[in-house]
Symmetry: C2
Subunit: 398 residues, 2 copies
């Protein structure tokens, strides 16, 4: 159930310009989210071997499952910055914890932006007192704005769910697009919930939600040095802890929020004009279904065909075959939207092409590949590959 | 040593138009290569799960390591055509073997073109007598022309090597570009040598040559249903068999020819304006080096940066980190051409950027990533990703 309130009991927000994106422009690029008291916390971070300093610190500090504040900046990823990067992230979060009179290990940094350049530490440090003051009046929307890089739209979600404690609320924000941006470090998301849960359960619920959402979208298949999703549950000292019977409702809420943000990221993919779900069903197991779906979703040939609104089914079947999973091409079914193109490995005799072309004119539709080998399924959400994508990424710095 | 003669002792050539590409235009799309006597033969074919009928037949028929003729067509891949496709390929090659008074199992088909459409069997059958007659006067160049699809250039190579039997000669031809073409089935290559070798040795030598050449290039990472490389050694009944001590010379000749054709394919990649070698060295093993090189070579972000002539080193390091191979980013070195950008994980302090930009203006250069973890290395040749690529692939059929 949608609820567009952008305040959440137990959490406060603040954002400012620290001149990180552009020293000469007053653009929001530095934000703070503070819980009134330490909240239950969990994070899912990048699987890239090259890990940015803020990710190293966030992983370490959230091991105990508690967090008081999140300090976020755009314009600089603090990645490939070595020991200096770690020292800078520690110094900045220490300023926040000292102002909040909190354990420094309960403040985590999130950064996104240029790789390989040290943070403008002094400029950022100077803005921390005003970030703290801003918590009195600041809005979540300003923080969501401050984490954007090449995104063209603010990405927020606000949902609620009925539990035995009454309604619980969730407020989420994300930064995407940069999944494919030059030297821009990828996806960040923050999920805040006004009820408390056990840390181990929060971790499980977040992993499951991320698997079904952010890990099931692809703009160009690249995984960044900074990808981080953080969830905080229960920011108010009075926040109650959910009972076991409410765990399903909590998980569903978290998953729904992550999927909503993931769809917003796909719709705002660089140069993207389409959001297409690649659904593989009838697979022997979920891992195989997902691997084939991902291979199709990441194929440049499929993505350009989607862009050209061309029902080029051979590219879909051929990229499925390149996933390294055995299947029998002589039994499969293929649909574009509701139009069946291949039945038991044989091309539909006629009339499918104009109908399939009509489906592909839509902004969002589903391509379904049924392997007829089992009961498992998996889906990936992808975008088209446009000339605009190339333009954005080839010309960005020059 | 280059030698541009396009004839080869023991082999004859013929090509014609069978109206496969376009029924209304007289374009070369049907070719025949015949040895004067059965030659030693080997093939390397696609690893795609979806395999075209001609590939199934070629694999089967070359198991004994002998081949008399290769029948090749463009315009139709005979892929995703089920039992009908197999029957058609058998029927066409049978016409050839009957004309040549040869065992039908010694004729193999190669096809490339549209997927999922049956071959125009009758039109093709009718042209076989004239293909046979053409062998008297036909040229290798016409066959090389007849196998092209979206290629903009003929791809041929002719080399010779000194052995204890004297000079041996090789003539090769390939069809590429379609590695990335819409419904066009990928790469074909034929290597002909005028000396005989043992079948098992030919198989090993071809596998090794393909690994270092065609398997080390990427235009867009997709692998087709029809990829086939065939080698025939010794087309003349008088062809002598090489001695063991000449095997290295033979292997080198085959590898050099395959690498030459692979470079021609990369230079003619759809929309490609650059051919860049991604070299990963200092890896713990060759497989890791190749996997990281491939990940970088296939990254859309790296490929657009190459197109934009932007020394965006963060994208290179980040995509290396996404290959799933552990390495220490704090010790690596990175070079674009001869310009060192990262030394032991740290960005060069200044002046690297204009110099690196200069290198990237070249049409061909090398990007070197040194992991400093071992002695192994691997390289991939890649192209840039241009707006033109998207245009070709989005608009092809419409």
């Amino acid at each position: 159930m949608k609820d567009y309130d952008s305040h959440l009991d137990g959490f406060r927000f603040s954002a400012t310009s620290a001149g990180i994106k552009r020293a000469d422009l007053e653009r929001l690029d530095f934000g703070l989210i503070a819980a009134d008291a330490p909240a239950t916390a969990a994070a899912v971070t990048t699987t890239n071997v090259v890990v940015a300093a803020p990710v190293i610190l966030t992983r370490e500090r959230l091991q105990k499952g508690l967090c008081r504040a999140i300090l976020v900046n755009s314009g600089n990823a603090n990645a490939c910055t070595g020991e200096q990067g770690i020292r800078d992230a520690i110094a900045l979060t220490a300023e926040v914890s000292s102002e909040l009179k909190e354990d420094p290990n309960l403040v985590v940094p999130l950064s996104t932006g240029v790789i390989g350049v040290p943070l403008p530490l002094e400029r950022m440090k100077k803005r921390i007192p005003s970030l703290i003051q801003g918590l009195e009046t600041g809005s979540a929307k300003d923080v969501a704005q401050a984490m954007l890089t090449t995104d063209t739209h603010l990405k927020m979600v606000s949902l609620k769910a009925q539990t035995s404690l009454g309604w619980i609320r969730l407020l989420g924000m994300a930064k995407g697009s940069g999944m494919i941006a030059p030297q821009m470090a990828t996806m960040l998301a923050v999920l805040l919930i006004d009820a408390r849960v056990e840390p181990t359960f929060l971790r499980e619920a977040l992993h499951s939600a991320v698997e079904k959402s952010f890990n099931s979208i692809t703009v160009d298949g690249d995984m960044s040095t900074n990808d981080t999703v953080v969830a905080l549950a229960g920011g108010s000292p009075q926040a109650q802890t959910l009972e076991s019977r409410d765990r399903a409702a909590f998980s569903d809420l978290l998953t729904e929020a992550c999927m909503d943000l993931a769809r917003q990221i796909i719709r705002d993919g660089e140069g993207a004009t389409k959001a297409v779900e690649i659904r593989v069903q009838g697979a022997q197991d979920t891992a195989s279904a997902l691997r084939i779906a991902r291979k199709i979703a990441e194929s440049s040939l499929v993505k350009t065909a989607i862009h050209g609104e061309d029902p080029n089914w051979g590219r879909i079947v051929s990229s499925a075959g390149a996933a390294g999973i055995a299947f029998d091409p002589n039994v499969l079914d293929l649909f574009i939207g509701e139009v069946q193109i291949v039945t038991s490995g044989t091309l539909a005799s006629n009339d499918w092409e104009p109908a399939a072309r009509e489906v592909m004119k839509r902004r969002e539709y589903v391509i379904t590949l049924d392997l007829k080998a089992g009961q498992a399924q998996g889906a990936m959400l992808t975008t088209d590959l446009s000339e605009e994508y190339v333009k954005i990424n080839a010309d960005y710095r020059s």
